[in-house]
Subunit: 281 residues, 4 copies
């Protein structure tokens, strides 16, 4: 966490309906990490069902439960300290593969929605003479933002980056998939991020991507005209397959959903501190 | 999480004082897992300082920060679904070492406060003819509870299980260390647990231990006359060295501290659900 | 390792040619694990280059090096104790998702070459009335073996399971991708395996798949008419993207390659044992 | 692996005797990593017993097996590329705790044989005015080498650093424990290393320690008058409890043991390369 931070209050309220008991894995709990600090949260269900949590191979918190037949509501709220401004570093150079950390290598591989192996020549055209590294990723991001139309209803859960390019339209997850696939095609590690973005219009859960250039991950969002901070991360992965808010293993319908992100009000003052110990421990 | 659960509201409010900037690692955030579900929490500091979090080798959440010169307050509250009753299974057999899961093997090794290599003959005397496995651990636990006096001021941060046995007195962490050391001496994996216990007198952060018998971990608490549920886990480790609430790397004084555990009041009803989606997603 | 085992001597000798320094990640070293024991190995390069090794998120050993401009030879040989017979268990039932171990869940997700989300109705047709679990996976495997032609040259590095089904032909990796995609479509975890198979015709590095039914992983190989043991695993993953023998990040040509698998000759007798210690330690 | 390397042939031949079936965990297989490359190895038993292998929380390879009643021989040989010279960096500064990588923090904690909490004032005396960081660790190392006598028979499996200081004598593991405990007392992460050292007199399996100063781990060996390369690592841990060559869970006697480390002879030339492929893959 940087010394200067922005405190956001974020939340999702989702009602799902299952025709029969339906096991799910949810990724709705933000974790504290290097770039954000979770100062409070509430994770509520109605009806209550027994739930377990585990950490997946990417470090995400995953909640396992069974949605009983009928309707179930999940409401998650959190107050998170995050970065007010995105780190922007046009000079961050391309890192040759032999110098990448081991943990970044998996983000060079093609994945379900990011078949980077099919987009190498396309990516080379787009980056043109951009400076290797950050400059190339920004060229890809800007090209997507200018050239792909943001439109609901053109894509679905099976649409990959190649299909999005053919259609010339998509939503945030499609934009991220195109950005990731082309970035990997340039041999730069790229990963999917899902979470919240302050001021997103219309407000919803959001998706963007990160690329590893220089010596760290940087954030890129092809749905936005300019770099914007105020992000709360829910999960990282190779693409949308890894980071679904809810992965359902049976028929499940979303019947209501509301998402919010706002500047957190000043915290209520803490209650009076406990009295001093008689003798310091 | 079992289908039947007990909802507890737990918290700690700690004021520390540092003569100079003092880096610390805190383990004050309960995690959801197999045996408890975190439904809400608040983690507040005053003054606020940048903080990062990581997961240690035992799966514990660890918060890294620097206590600035002067006083700092940490207040953590959580509402946790937990097990109302401890699992008790006198018939759980000794598991021969070759059948233990890989992850349990490290809990057979001696550690800083649990020099099990020095207590083998003592442990054998105590378990006597108890049935191998759960029965042996329970014999050790009962022997400690009957034979060691619970008394503040007899032990400090350098007291290990052997020293506690010599003194015949200690506090919860000392009781746990003796239990762990003797259990390991019987070639049964044992680990330290720190957290909250409903109804503890006087109320404080608490320590107990778990032993692996049959095919799972069971809870043992040598400070209590009978098995008691209502526990919230903060951290697991080999002994107190791994699971300090606060590990400080510089002089740090605790000047005030309050701990509470109570049955959570019924949750406030959720606000009205969002309106149904026009078209189901 | 089971008490009865088959000792195999396996190896690969690969010559690659790089037009310029080319970083690679190789997965050519078999690891000991639950199902195989590595009793000896040699991993040689010519020319020698500095190499590091790490363990990826699936537990595979990965060797990182840079192929210098020109030709480089990698020769890996190993003697491995493995299972002479595959475990076959037609009665192993479908495990409902809520009962799967956490570590198996990722193998339900669609991946680059196994877009299981597109094959649900096809998979349902094929399994028909096969008994849920092992029976369904075997039905898929048998259908592939009967219905897809084994033919070189029909597929390449971008061919996924859907494309293989359209073409009706492929090689071992394509057979595995179809099996994995359909198995996942039935909500059964499935993973890719690459390695060696005794008696494979023509001899080559091989690929097959595993499915999680009942309470463990079972091996399925759609290229074979009957279950065959004598396998040495090099790597596990979601699909071929994760388990390439060599992932190259620059142009790299394979100019020569030889693979062998044979019953290991009886080991040379050990040299004489060292003399007894004067006093036992 | 550095570009310049030293190729060593190392091995251990150990005969143990068990009065009854005795489960053990062995750490006798060197792994490739950042600082060494395993080019060949042989791991043989007589009699052969089924064995599995896992990776522990420190990244060590651990072999699980049961020594049957009677005698069993384990013979492990390896050829390893390693560093001919130790990295020595007197200017490497103390790294304040808040800047240490998460993974180094555990090596600040006291452990079974390294009760650093008891040695703070002693350590401060010894380091005196040495420059913080590398200089302090080297002062500790040199003090041990000058002040503690290397003598067999003064210590046993329960001897910790405090006891060694009292006795003023010990063997390599005791020297390492004192070094680690005092280094941690200075708030510098320190870890135990076991393995092979070229030219050790008398030849045996060896133990030394590493300290984290500046931005990496450096090797220190209090048994040697000057820095010496030619080391092959078998395992890392907090102290000897974590890195026993053989941890036995039942009575086990070592009846014969031989260890060797030598400059590897030039490798036999590779057999002829396979013929070129008809068409490059």
């Amino acid at each position: 966490m940087p010394a200067t931070s922005l405190k956001l209050h974020v939340g999702s309220d989702i009602t799902v309906r299952a025709a029969a008991d339906c096991p799910i894995v949810a990724m709705l709990r933000p974790a504290s990490g290097l770039a954000q600090w979770l100062s409070s949260e509430t994770y509520a269900f109605d009806p209550w069902v027994p739930t377990t949590e585990y950490v997946d191979g990417y470090g995400n918190l995953c909640q396992r439960m069974v949605v009983p037949q009928g309707e179930m509501r999940l409401r998650v709220e959190a107050t998170v300290e995050t970065e007010p401004e995105l780190a922007v570093n046009p000079g961050a150079p391309f890192t040759i593969v032999q110098n990448l950390p081991d943990s970044a290598l998996q983000y060079l591989l093609p994945s379900r929605y990011c078949p980077s192996d099919k987009l190498e020549s396309r990516a080379r055209e787009i980056v043109g003479t951009a400076s290797p590294g950050y400059g190339q990723v920004e060229a890809i991001r800007a090209w997507i933002q200018a050239g792909i139309e943001y439109r609901y209803g053109t894509s679905d859960a099976s649409t990959d980056a190649v299909a999005t390019l053919e259609r010339g339209a998509g939503v945030c997850r499609d934009f991220a998939h195109v950005g990731i696939a082309m970035t990997r095609a340039m041999r730069i590690p790229a990963r999917m991020v899902v979470g919240y973005l302050l001021g997103l219009e219309p407000m919803d859960l959001h998706a963007w991507f990160e690329a590893y250039v220089g010596d760290r991950w940087y954030t890129f969002d092809a749905t936005q005209a300019a770099p914007r901070g105020g992000r709360v991360v829910l999960a990282y992965g190779r693409d949308a397959a890894d980071v679904a808010f809810i992965s359902n293993y049976g028929p499940l319908e979303t019947v209501a959903m509301q998402v919010w992100v706002e500047i957190a009000p000043p915290p209520r003052p803490l209650p009076p501190a406990p009295p001093p110990l008689a003798a310091p421990a």
